[in-house]
Protein backbone atom coordinates (compact mmCIF):
# COMPACT_ATOMS: atom_id res chain seq x y z
CA UNK A 1 0.00 0.00 0.00
CA UNK A 2 2.74 2.40 0.99
CA UNK A 3 4.52 1.78 -2.32
CA UNK A 4 1.65 3.32 -4.25
CA UNK A 5 1.07 6.26 -1.97
CA UNK A 6 3.90 8.42 -3.34
CA UNK A 7 3.24 7.90 -7.08
CA UNK A 8 -0.48 8.40 -6.43
CA UNK A 9 0.05 11.67 -4.61
CA UNK A 10 2.39 12.91 -7.37
CA UNK A 11 -0.25 11.92 -9.91
CA UNK A 12 -2.94 13.83 -8.03
CA UNK A 13 -0.77 16.94 -7.84
CA UNK A 14 -0.03 16.79 -11.59
CA UNK A 15 -3.70 16.30 -12.40
CA UNK A 16 -4.50 19.25 -10.15
CA UNK A 17 -2.08 21.48 -12.06
CA UNK A 18 -3.41 20.31 -15.42
CA UNK A 19 -6.98 20.85 -14.26
CA UNK A 20 -6.21 24.45 -13.27
CA UNK A 21 -4.38 24.91 -16.56
CA UNK A 22 -7.44 23.80 -18.51
CA UNK A 23 -9.54 26.49 -16.89
CA UNK A 24 -7.11 29.29 -17.74
CA UNK A 25 -7.68 31.19 -20.94
CA UNK A 26 -4.36 31.86 -22.66
CA UNK A 27 -6.02 34.64 -24.67
CA UNK A 28 -6.57 36.65 -21.53
CA UNK A 29 -3.36 38.39 -20.68
CA UNK A 30 -3.62 40.45 -17.50
CA UNK A 31 -3.13 44.09 -18.42
CA UNK A 32 -0.39 46.01 -16.62
CA UNK A 33 -2.47 49.14 -17.24
CA UNK A 34 -5.20 48.34 -14.71
CA UNK A 35 -4.71 50.77 -11.81
CA UNK A 36 -2.75 53.18 -13.98
CA UNK A 37 -3.82 56.40 -15.66
CA UNK A 38 -5.63 55.88 -18.95
CA UNK A 39 -3.25 56.84 -21.77
CA UNK A 40 -4.08 60.20 -23.27
CA UNK A 41 -5.11 60.65 -26.88
CA UNK A 42 -6.88 63.15 -29.07
CA UNK A 43 -8.58 61.54 -32.01
CA UNK A 44 -11.09 62.87 -34.53
CA UNK A 45 -14.75 61.99 -34.07
CA UNK A 46 -16.07 59.33 -36.40
CA UNK A 47 -19.23 61.32 -37.13
CA UNK A 48 -17.44 64.64 -37.55
CA UNK A 49 -13.68 64.49 -38.18
CA UNK A 50 -13.41 68.20 -37.36
CA UNK A 51 -14.12 67.50 -33.68
CA UNK A 52 -11.62 65.99 -31.28
CA UNK A 53 -12.27 63.28 -28.72
CA UNK A 54 -9.91 63.29 -25.73
CA UNK A 55 -10.19 61.49 -22.35
CA UNK A 56 -9.56 64.82 -20.59
CA UNK A 57 -13.09 65.87 -21.63
CA UNK A 58 -14.46 63.08 -19.45
CA UNK A 59 -12.60 63.84 -16.20
CA UNK A 60 -14.93 63.52 -13.25
CA UNK A 61 -17.05 60.89 -14.97
CA UNK A 62 -16.99 57.13 -14.85
CA UNK A 63 -17.04 55.86 -18.41
CA UNK A 64 -16.30 52.89 -20.60
CA UNK A 65 -13.95 52.95 -23.53
CA UNK A 66 -14.83 50.27 -26.05
CA UNK A 67 -12.45 49.40 -28.90
CA UNK A 68 -14.39 48.03 -31.83
CA UNK A 69 -14.33 47.79 -35.61
CA UNK A 70 -16.81 47.02 -38.35
CA UNK A 71 -14.60 44.11 -39.50
CA UNK A 72 -14.62 42.48 -36.06
CA UNK A 73 -17.06 39.62 -35.60
CA UNK A 74 -16.76 39.64 -31.81
CA UNK A 75 -17.96 43.24 -31.88
CA UNK A 76 -21.13 42.15 -33.60
CA UNK A 77 -21.69 39.54 -30.87
CA UNK A 78 -21.10 42.15 -28.21
CA UNK A 79 -23.16 44.87 -29.84
CA UNK A 80 -26.63 44.01 -28.41
CA UNK A 81 -25.11 43.96 -24.91
CA UNK A 82 -23.69 47.44 -25.45
CA UNK A 83 -27.03 48.67 -26.80
CA UNK A 84 -28.75 47.31 -23.71
CA UNK A 85 -26.20 48.88 -21.38
CA UNK A 86 -26.42 52.22 -23.18
CA UNK A 87 -30.21 52.15 -22.92
CA UNK A 88 -30.05 51.44 -19.18
CA UNK A 89 -28.11 54.71 -18.74
CA UNK A 90 -25.86 53.15 -16.08
CA UNK A 91 -22.64 54.29 -17.69
CA UNK A 92 -21.71 56.06 -20.93
CA UNK A 93 -19.84 53.91 -23.45
CA UNK A 94 -17.39 55.79 -25.61
CA UNK A 95 -16.23 54.03 -28.75
CA UNK A 96 -12.87 53.84 -30.44
CA UNK A 97 -13.08 52.70 -34.01
CA UNK A 98 -9.93 50.62 -34.33
CA UNK A 99 -8.14 50.27 -37.69
CA UNK A 100 -11.30 50.63 -39.69
CA UNK A 101 -12.70 52.33 -42.79
CA UNK A 102 -14.74 55.39 -41.94
CA UNK A 103 -17.68 54.69 -44.27
CA UNK A 104 -17.88 51.04 -43.26
CA UNK A 105 -17.91 52.00 -39.59
CA UNK A 106 -20.67 54.53 -40.19
CA UNK A 107 -22.72 51.97 -42.13
CA UNK A 108 -22.22 49.43 -39.35
CA UNK A 109 -23.54 51.88 -36.73
CA UNK A 110 -26.48 52.85 -38.92
CA UNK A 111 -27.41 49.24 -39.49
CA UNK A 112 -27.00 47.85 -35.98
CA UNK A 113 -27.55 50.96 -33.85
CA UNK A 114 -25.18 53.31 -32.10
CA UNK A 115 -24.63 52.84 -28.35
CA UNK A 116 -21.88 55.47 -28.22
CA UNK A 117 -22.30 59.20 -27.46
CA UNK A 118 -18.95 59.71 -29.22
CA UNK A 119 -16.77 57.45 -31.30
CA UNK A 120 -13.12 58.33 -31.83
CA UNK A 121 -11.18 57.12 -34.85
CA UNK A 122 -7.94 55.20 -34.40
CA UNK A 123 -7.06 54.43 -37.96
CA UNK A 124 -3.40 53.62 -37.44
CA UNK A 125 -4.00 51.58 -34.28
CA UNK A 126 -1.74 53.84 -32.21
CA UNK A 127 -4.28 54.49 -29.45
CA UNK A 128 -4.83 50.73 -29.40
CA UNK A 129 -1.13 50.10 -28.82
CA UNK A 130 -1.05 52.66 -25.99
CA UNK A 131 -3.95 50.88 -24.34
CA UNK A 132 -2.40 47.47 -24.89
CA UNK A 133 -5.17 46.35 -27.23
CA UNK A 134 -4.33 43.10 -29.00
CA UNK A 135 -7.73 41.95 -30.15
CA UNK A 136 -10.97 43.84 -30.52
CA UNK A 137 -13.39 44.14 -28.86
CA UNK A 138 -11.75 45.32 -25.67
CA UNK A 139 -13.42 47.48 -23.06
CA UNK A 140 -11.90 49.62 -20.32
CA UNK A 141 -13.63 50.99 -17.25
CA UNK A 142 -12.18 54.42 -16.48
CA UNK A 143 -12.87 56.22 -13.21
CA UNK A 144 -13.39 59.89 -12.32
CA UNK A 145 -9.64 60.51 -11.97
CA UNK A 146 -9.00 59.01 -15.38
CA UNK A 147 -7.60 55.72 -14.04
CA UNK A 148 -8.20 52.39 -15.73
CA UNK A 149 -10.03 50.17 -13.25
CA UNK A 150 -10.90 47.14 -15.33
CA UNK A 151 -10.13 45.69 -18.72
CA UNK A 152 -12.42 43.32 -20.54
CA UNK A 153 -10.69 41.30 -23.23
CA UNK A 154 -13.10 40.03 -25.86
CA UNK A 155 -16.84 40.63 -26.09
CA UNK A 156 -18.81 41.77 -23.06
CA UNK A 157 -21.74 39.52 -22.26
CA UNK A 158 -24.76 40.44 -20.19
CA UNK A 159 -23.50 38.34 -17.28
CA UNK A 160 -20.18 40.21 -17.09
CA UNK A 161 -22.02 43.51 -17.38
CA UNK A 162 -24.40 42.63 -14.56
CA UNK A 163 -21.85 41.00 -12.25
CA UNK A 164 -18.71 43.01 -12.87
CA UNK A 165 -19.19 46.20 -14.85
CA UNK A 166 -22.28 47.65 -13.17
CA UNK A 167 -21.20 46.92 -9.56
CA UNK A 168 -17.76 48.38 -10.34
CA UNK A 169 -19.26 51.47 -11.98
CA UNK A 170 -21.57 52.00 -8.98
CA UNK A 171 -18.66 51.67 -6.60
CA UNK A 172 -16.56 54.12 -8.62
CA UNK A 173 -19.45 56.56 -8.91
CA UNK A 174 -19.80 56.68 -5.13
CA UNK A 175 -16.14 57.55 -4.63
Amino acid sequence: MNRFLLPLSIFIVVVGFLGVGLKLNPREIPSPLVGKAAPDFSQPHLADPEQVFAPADLKGKVWLLNFWASWCSGCKTEHPVLMELAKSGEVPIYGMDYKDQRDEALTWLRRWGNPYPVVGVDEAGRVGINYGVYGVPETYVIDKQGMIRYKQIGPLDSETVANKIIPLVKQLESQ
Binding site: P26, I29, P30, P32, L33, Y131, G135
Partner: protein, 154 residues
Protein backbone atom coordinates in the same frame (compact mmCIF):
# COMPACT_ATOMS: atom_id res chain seq x y z
CA UNK B 1 32.83 58.87 -78.86
CA UNK B 2 30.37 56.02 -79.11
CA UNK B 3 32.46 54.03 -76.63
CA UNK B 4 32.52 56.92 -74.26
CA UNK B 5 28.73 57.20 -74.34
CA UNK B 6 28.36 53.47 -73.92
CA UNK B 7 30.74 53.29 -71.00
CA UNK B 8 29.03 56.26 -69.39
CA UNK B 9 25.70 54.50 -69.80
CA UNK B 10 27.06 51.37 -68.20
CA UNK B 11 28.57 53.35 -65.36
CA UNK B 12 25.40 55.22 -64.57
CA UNK B 13 22.95 52.43 -65.11
CA UNK B 14 24.49 50.44 -62.24
CA UNK B 15 23.45 52.77 -59.43
CA UNK B 16 20.03 53.20 -61.01
CA UNK B 17 19.41 49.49 -60.78
CA UNK B 18 20.73 49.49 -57.24
CA UNK B 19 18.20 52.17 -56.42
CA UNK B 20 15.37 49.98 -57.66
CA UNK B 21 16.52 46.91 -55.78
CA UNK B 22 16.88 48.84 -52.55
CA UNK B 23 15.53 46.89 -49.58
CA UNK B 24 12.24 47.98 -48.04
CA UNK B 25 14.04 49.29 -45.01
CA UNK B 26 14.92 52.92 -44.97
CA UNK B 27 17.86 52.43 -42.70
CA UNK B 28 19.69 49.08 -42.64
CA UNK B 29 21.00 49.68 -39.11
CA UNK B 30 17.48 50.19 -37.77
CA UNK B 31 16.28 47.16 -39.69
CA UNK B 32 19.05 44.98 -38.27
CA UNK B 33 18.22 46.12 -34.74
CA UNK B 34 14.51 45.53 -35.38
CA UNK B 35 15.24 42.00 -36.59
CA UNK B 36 17.38 41.30 -33.57
CA UNK B 37 14.79 42.70 -31.16
CA UNK B 38 11.68 41.28 -32.80
CA UNK B 39 12.71 37.65 -32.29
CA UNK B 40 12.75 38.32 -28.54
CA UNK B 41 9.19 39.65 -28.56
CA UNK B 42 5.98 37.69 -28.70
CA UNK B 43 3.13 38.54 -31.02
CA UNK B 44 0.02 38.83 -28.86
CA UNK B 45 -2.36 37.66 -31.54
CA UNK B 46 -0.56 34.51 -32.67
CA UNK B 47 0.91 33.73 -29.31
CA UNK B 48 3.47 31.20 -30.43
CA UNK B 49 4.99 33.46 -33.02
CA UNK B 50 7.54 36.15 -32.52
CA UNK B 51 6.92 39.69 -33.56
CA UNK B 52 9.37 39.06 -36.38
CA UNK B 53 7.44 36.06 -37.79
CA UNK B 54 3.88 37.15 -37.39
CA UNK B 55 1.80 38.65 -40.16
CA UNK B 56 -1.01 39.67 -37.84
CA UNK B 57 -2.00 43.33 -38.33
CA UNK B 58 -1.09 44.07 -34.71
CA UNK B 59 2.39 42.63 -35.24
CA UNK B 60 2.81 44.86 -38.29
CA UNK B 61 1.75 47.88 -36.26
CA UNK B 62 4.08 46.96 -33.44
CA UNK B 63 6.97 46.48 -35.83
CA UNK B 64 6.21 49.93 -37.21
CA UNK B 65 6.20 51.40 -33.68
CA UNK B 66 9.45 49.64 -32.79
CA UNK B 67 11.04 50.76 -36.06
CA UNK B 68 10.07 54.35 -35.33
CA UNK B 69 11.41 54.14 -31.81
CA UNK B 70 14.68 52.68 -33.03
CA UNK B 71 14.93 55.37 -35.69
CA UNK B 72 14.61 57.88 -32.83
CA UNK B 73 17.70 56.24 -31.35
CA UNK B 74 15.97 54.70 -28.36
CA UNK B 75 17.82 51.84 -26.71
CA UNK B 76 16.59 48.24 -26.90
CA UNK B 77 15.73 48.41 -23.22
CA UNK B 78 13.58 51.51 -23.74
CA UNK B 79 11.68 49.77 -26.53
CA UNK B 80 11.16 46.69 -24.37
CA UNK B 81 9.99 48.85 -21.46
CA UNK B 82 7.51 50.58 -23.79
CA UNK B 83 5.98 47.26 -24.80
CA UNK B 84 6.02 45.73 -21.31
CA UNK B 85 4.24 48.82 -19.93
CA UNK B 86 1.40 48.16 -22.37
CA UNK B 87 1.25 44.40 -22.75
CA UNK B 88 2.99 43.09 -19.64
CA UNK B 89 5.79 40.55 -19.36
CA UNK B 90 3.89 38.32 -21.73
CA UNK B 91 5.45 40.08 -24.73
CA UNK B 92 8.86 38.85 -23.64
CA UNK B 93 10.01 35.40 -24.68
CA UNK B 94 12.42 35.51 -21.76
CA UNK B 95 10.36 36.60 -18.78
CA UNK B 96 12.32 38.51 -16.14
CA UNK B 97 13.13 36.86 -12.80
CA UNK B 98 10.54 38.28 -10.39
CA UNK B 99 8.58 37.09 -7.39
CA UNK B 100 5.75 35.94 -9.69
CA UNK B 101 8.05 34.11 -12.07
CA UNK B 102 10.34 32.34 -9.60
CA UNK B 103 8.44 29.07 -9.98
CA UNK B 104 8.88 29.34 -13.74
CA UNK B 105 12.62 29.84 -13.50
CA UNK B 106 13.42 27.65 -10.51
CA UNK B 107 10.76 24.96 -11.08
CA UNK B 108 12.67 22.88 -13.66
CA UNK B 109 15.79 22.84 -11.50
CA UNK B 110 13.76 21.82 -8.45
CA UNK B 111 12.22 18.97 -10.46
CA UNK B 112 15.66 17.97 -11.73
CA UNK B 113 17.02 17.87 -8.19
CA UNK B 114 14.07 15.81 -6.96
CA UNK B 115 14.50 13.39 -9.86
CA UNK B 116 18.25 13.04 -9.35
CA UNK B 117 17.82 12.50 -5.61
CA UNK B 118 15.13 9.86 -6.19
CA UNK B 119 17.38 8.10 -8.69
CA UNK B 120 20.36 8.03 -6.34
CA UNK B 121 18.23 6.85 -3.41
CA UNK B 122 16.64 4.07 -5.47
CA UNK B 123 19.94 2.87 -6.87
CA UNK B 124 21.55 2.80 -3.42
CA UNK B 125 18.60 0.91 -1.96
CA UNK B 126 18.72 -1.61 -4.79
CA UNK B 127 22.46 -2.06 -4.38
CA UNK B 128 21.93 -2.88 -0.71
CA UNK B 129 19.37 -5.57 -1.56
CA UNK B 130 21.82 -7.59 -3.65
CA UNK B 131 23.71 -9.71 -1.14
CA UNK B 132 26.57 -12.01 -2.04
CA UNK B 133 25.60 -15.64 -1.36
CA UNK B 134 28.60 -17.96 -1.36
CA UNK B 135 28.12 -21.16 -3.32
CA UNK B 136 28.94 -24.32 -1.44
CA UNK B 137 31.00 -27.13 -2.96
CA UNK B 138 27.89 -29.32 -3.11
CA UNK B 139 26.02 -26.64 -5.14
CA UNK B 140 29.02 -26.07 -7.38
CA UNK B 141 29.07 -29.79 -8.29
CA UNK B 142 25.35 -29.74 -8.97
CA UNK B 143 25.70 -26.73 -11.28
CA UNK B 144 28.45 -28.43 -13.26
CA UNK B 145 26.42 -31.62 -13.52
CA UNK B 146 23.35 -29.74 -14.77
CA UNK B 147 25.38 -27.81 -17.29
CA UNK B 148 26.99 -30.99 -18.56
CA UNK B 149 23.59 -32.67 -18.97
CA UNK B 150 22.17 -29.65 -20.75
CA UNK B 151 25.10 -29.68 -23.17
CA UNK B 152 24.40 -33.31 -24.05
CA UNK B 153 20.73 -32.78 -24.70
CA UNK B 154 21.30 -30.01 -27.21
Amino acid sequence: MRWLVLSLMVCFSGPVWAEEAKPLAEDPVVEARLKHLAVELRCLVCQNQTLADSNAPLAEDLRREVREMLAKNMSDQEVIDFLVARYGDFVLYRPPLKATTTLLWVGPFVLLTIGATALVVTLRRRARKVVDVPVTDEEQRRVEQLLAEGGKRS
